[in-house]
Amino acid sequence: MIFLIPLLALAALAAVPFFVGAYPLGLGIGILGYGVLATAWALFSGPTRYISLATVAFFGIGAYTVAVLADLMPYPLVLLCAALIGLVVALLVGLATLRLAGIYFVIFTFGLAELARQLVTYYEVNVTRTLGRYVFLPIGPEHIYWQLLGLLAVTLALAFWISRAKIGLALRVIGDDPVVASHLGIGITRTKLALFSLSAVVMTLAGAIQAPRWTYIEPSIVFNPTVSFLTVIMALLGGPNRLFGPLLGAVPLFLLFEWLSANFPNHYSIILGLLFIAIVFLLPNGVLAAWDKLTARFKNNEARA
């Protein structure tokens, strides 16, 4: 029974493209895309409390890989290549920074997207001599929707499995107290590195899958720092330590941002920033945790009465 509900929900969501028009389908793709990113972000950053600001670096790497390789090899192979490249970059970044205090990791990831953008731009300008690429793949929006839905399901399943498995427990111990963790014999760096890489691969795939939607790809489009920002704010709103928290944050915020960018394009980032600060202040552990606290208090009152 407990496994039937998610499967039914998945089937219902998979049927959506047959019933809606192009605009709602586009919204659906956006929600799924950010749902995947936020869930993947929370996979690593939730339990360890290491704030990664590099989401868009991996997302952009995925999108760019598709743009470069789409004409050279079949699509599934392209996705595999993208995942591998994302994995290698994540391992490099993780090996350099995850042994150290969390602050170094944050700082490094903070500039990583800018670095990736400048390196890709440099390469395109000096080696290929064309800035910007076209992606012509016979992949319609409904296929992108299905692929993202599949990726989301896999990510959620992974997150569920990790929360039950030994590695999830290890991660929570590391997040609570690294000293205790090392005394328990947990390989701290290894555990963090594994989770960070996994989360980065999912983000890379999310970028790769959405690449055919843009048709035209340029470093400043796919390495846009706002994506990292939105991912963090969504995961925080929903609650990064809950399975469905990040997804729950992604749905309303994506719709809000769509509406804001359509109606207040000039004041978009000011409103975003203020909203972000408000969430950090008011909901430090996310909506779900706040809700649990509220209901717990209510129950306590009832019990006393």
Partner: protein, 290 residues
């Protein structure tokens, strides 16, 4: 050619050292990792440009308006936004995480305001753009002035920290915030002042930057990044370390951009950062210094 590149690099490095000093005050004393730091620098640059183009005010005089403004703004940001977070946090890790997130939000607010007011284009103004002969190579007067200002602020700050009572108090809080109250230091108060002082230095850095570089509303991230790298290279809270690291970074960047490719300067910066992290995460000059 090499000498001229090194000279330009030292001048650039002086600016990096100046902005890194402000950040090292904010992080070393107030324990706030301020991701909006670079955007305050850019705000200072826009302020100087506005005063120069609209009111014809010399940037040197503008410093006397913009630096106090940067100080006041940072004071307010700390009092309204960061102090409540500091009071709420059970430990330093939690405060670090929360302040990173809150200042990340602040980054987008400041950047958004700059975008609304000035647009996304690169800006600059021409101030003292006359060539001066230095030991056989020419360099623009505004760059030399920028370097002189960086030295002036650096020495001033160093004297403030080492020769005055207030400076000693600041260093005490940086060294051990837990014990500072035992000798009658109000840590909250000192942290707020140090944060504001860092903000004033950021604004000063912004004015200096605007004298000889082009800047845009979205460039703050890059300045934050470079200031952070200099702070970590020099060792957190170490002023002289920041000075040396800033000069090194400036020289390396200029060498890379003049002999390899201007598009690779950030990559070079990152490479240095990576090397420091792998080899000496406590900074080039160790932890022992102030």
């Amino acid at each position: 050619m090499l000498f001229s590149a090194i000279l330009t690099g030292l001048v650039l490095g002086g600016t990096y050292a100046l902005i890194a000093m402000g950040l090292t005050l904010q992080y070393g004393v107030a324990r706030i990792m301020n991701l909006a730091y670079g955007d305050l620098i850019i705000a200072g640059s826009f302020g100087a440009m506005l005063l120069f183009t609209a009111a014809g005010l010399n940037p040197l005089i503008a410093l006397f308006i913009i630096v106090p403004l940067g100080f006041a703004l940072s004071w307010l940001v700390y009092a309204l936004m960061l102090q409540p977070l500091a009071r709420r946090s059970p430990n330093r890790d939690r405060l670090e995480g929360d302040s990173i997130l809150a200042t990340f939000g602040l980054l987008f607010v400041i950047q958004g305001v700059a975008l609304v007011l000035f647009g996304a284009n690169y800006q600059s103004y021409s101030f003292l753009a006359v060539p001066i002969d230095v030991l056989g190579t020419t360099i623009a007067a505004n760059r030399l002035l920028a370097f002189a200002l960086a030295v002036l602020f650096g020495v001033g700050l160093w004297l403030l920290l080492t020769r005055t009572r207030f400076g000693t108090v600041i260093r005490a809080v940086a060294a051990n915030p837990g014990s500072a109250p035992l000798v009658g230091i109000n840590v909250d108060h000192v942290a707020r002042l140090a944060f504001a002082l860092g903000g004033g230095l950021a604004a000063a850095g912004g004015v200096v930057v605007s004298m000889y570089l082009t800047f845009s509303a979205t460039m703050g991230v890059i300045f934050t990044m470079k200031a952070l790298i200099v702070v970590i290279m020099g060792g957190v809270g170490n002023l002289l370390g920041a000075l040396a690291a800033g000069l090194i970074l400036g020289v390396v960047e200029t060498l890379v951009s003049s002999f390899i490719d201007p598009g690779l300067t950030l990559a070079a910066t990152y490479l240095i950062f990576l090397a420091v992290l792998v080899v000496r995460p406590q900074g080039l000059f160790g932890k022992a210094a102030r």
